[in-house]
Amino acid sequence: MKVEINGGQAFAHLQVELAPGESIVTESNAMSSMDANIDLTAQLNGGLVRGLLRKYLGGETLFISRFSNNTQEPRSLYLVQPTPGDIRCVDIDENGLFLQGGAFLACTPEVKLGVKWAGIVSFLAGEGLFKLYAHGNGKLWYGAYGALVDKEVDGEYIVDTSHLVAWQPGMELKLQLAGGLFSSIFSGEGLVTRIEGNGKITIQSRSLSGLGSWLNPKF
């Protein structure tokens, strides 16, 4: 399988070439165009009940798509994400990777996708009840709004809740107020995530709430 990330940082997309017999799993409606004889099968995203829970409480889709090339020739397709922004490819191993809801774009079939309960506090912070957990051996592509910036967490670190995209397991996430009560209400920062442990996190360099607060006064 050959996958290229094209389109620059602002409007990144994937160009996928499937060799005969290969397939790729994607978020539903991620496909923008493809060769006509690639087969699409929709599959439930982790069981019906969990899938429904995720759809209505976690802001994720109920189905994920599987594109297979059952012909004798290489075939290609293009995958896009809904937000403007960057896409990144990561190698997934047994340690796995956590993704914020909505960040997942595509993965090779060997990667197992699961959901983990993120806690009621996460839901209150507007981040959904579930987080995606990917593990196995393969490649995964995820994207976000804005550029993707890596941070090495060594001990503890604070991230604005709407900027966190991906993080390695073994770190604990806690929600806290950004400052005192007054500051937290009027600063525009509100709740922040405190990350404890050692590992790598990825944040997006823009957030939808930031866009809103910039644009709304202009209307």
Partner: protein, 393 residues
């Protein structure tokens, strides 16, 4: 042999105050001195130490919660080839001083560059040995360059003849910072020395170290309120140890950094992102004729004083040196320097004002710089406005 570098980082779960007290006790200095040492971190606290001694110091420091980094040293002073004076390319940020301990000639040499604006005397144990090379890095840019690479570039060889250039920390200006995600979604990471403070636009903080304390202040008052911006601004202070903050502006676009040295820059209302504490940012009434027609708002932000200033654009940024007259569409102005006078005009009579779509422009006169953005916010707003959901009654 090792050099011991105090990184300024703490072990997880350590109270910074306890760590400082412990450090003061360990080094047999008073609290103020210990604070100064940490403030200057990363700093080399001991040179050419053997492995056993190094291990003891690391263990002792770890016990009080302070992290020490070991840096291998070549036994012989083989560091001649490393005496590179790398001149960075920081834009308008001045040049800081850095110090690289004598290192093995290998590519994995750890470079410890230090830039602070406090006196060099605060650094303990800095013998001027022949094997000690000095490295100058740009204050505004990260010390990403590996010393070996620096030494190989021809222009750094020319400037490498003075390894004993006296360190002049006074010449360092501003905070060290790094821009990533340019040009579409620029992200700013700023390193804040202990005790220093940075002003950041409300809700622009994206990430920070846990020792950054936030304080919210009202700013600009009525004018900000009227223009729909947040009337608050946040101040982040690095408590006790150096910290780091990641800043994400709201609009998609680029970021420009300036170091103001008692200069004045005018910014469009929403362009301000962050500044050092020496910069005074205040809203300035533009007057009805200038302000009302300039598309954005009745107010400009006047930034003056001394310190770092970061501002952002919507779209890409173009910097224009103006000498004489220059015309900019009102929606595309980001900022301009104070040497310029301006007024608002229509491009070609009133007919074109209503029908050409060009409408009003800003005509600058004099000498100075104008920064423009390649997209206009009012144009975006009017384009997006059609697609905004309508509330059903």
């Amino acid at each position: 042999m090792y050099n011991l570098i105090l990184t300024g980082k703490l072990e997880p779960g350590t109270n910074p105050r306890d760590a400082l007290a412990g450090l003061a006790k360990l080094l047999k200095v008073d609290d103020a001195k210990a604070r100064e040492i940490v403030r200057n971190a990363p700093v080399c606290i001991r040179r050419n130490t053997d492995a056993a001694m190094a291990e003891r110091v690391v263990a002792a420091m770890k016990a009080i919660g302070i992290r020490i980094q070991l840096e291998p040293v070549a036994a012989a002073p083989a560091a001649d080839g490393l005496a590179g004076t790398g001149v960075g390319t920081g834009v308008g940020t001045g040049v800081g001083t850095g110090e690289v301990a004598s290192t093995a000639g290998a590519a994995n040499a750890v470079s410890v560059a230090k830039t602070t604006n406090s006196a060099a005397s605060a650094k303990p144990a800095r013998p001027e040995q022949p094997s000690t090379s000095l490295k100058v890095i740009a204050g505004g840019k990260p010390a990403a360059a590996n010393p070996v690479d620096k030494a190989q570039t021809p222009d750094s060889q020319q400037t490498a003849q003075a390894p004993h250039t006296p360190a002049a920390p006074e010449s360092f200006k501003g905070f060290r910072y790094q821009l990533s995600g340019q040009p579409d979604y620029c992200f700013i990471s700023v390193e804040i020395p202990a005790g220093e403070t940075i002003k950041v636009e409300a809700s622009a903080m994206a990430s920070m170290t846990t020792n950054m304390l936030m304080k919210t202040r009202a700013k600009g008052g009525l004018s900000r309120f009227m223009s729909g911006e947040s009337v608050f601004i946040n101040e982040f202070t690095a408590d006790t140890v150096p910290g780091e903050i990641g800043i994400a502006p709201g609009s998609p676009g680029d970021v420009k950094h300036l170091y103001l040295d008692n200069e004045e820059v005018f910014l469009q209302n929403s362009a301000f992102v962050a500044s050092g504490m020496g910069v005074v940012a205040e809203s300035k009434w533009q007057g009805f004729t200038k302000g009302f027609f300039s598309g954005e708002s009745l107010f400009l932000i006047r930034c003056s004083g001394q310190g770092d200033l970061w501002f952002n654009t919507y779209g890409a940024m173009i910097e224009i040196d103006v000498a004489g007259d220059y015309v900019v569409d009102t929606g595309n102005i980001v900022g301009f320097t104070s040497g310029l006078d301006y007024d608002i005009q229509s491009v070609g009579g009133y007919k074109s004002l209503f029908f050409s779509g060009e409408g009003l422009v800003c005509r600058f006169r004099g000498h100075g710089k104008v920064w423009i953005q390649t997209r206009s916010v009012p144009a975006f707003a009017s384009w997006a406005n059609w697609y905004r959901p309508v509330k059903k009654k």
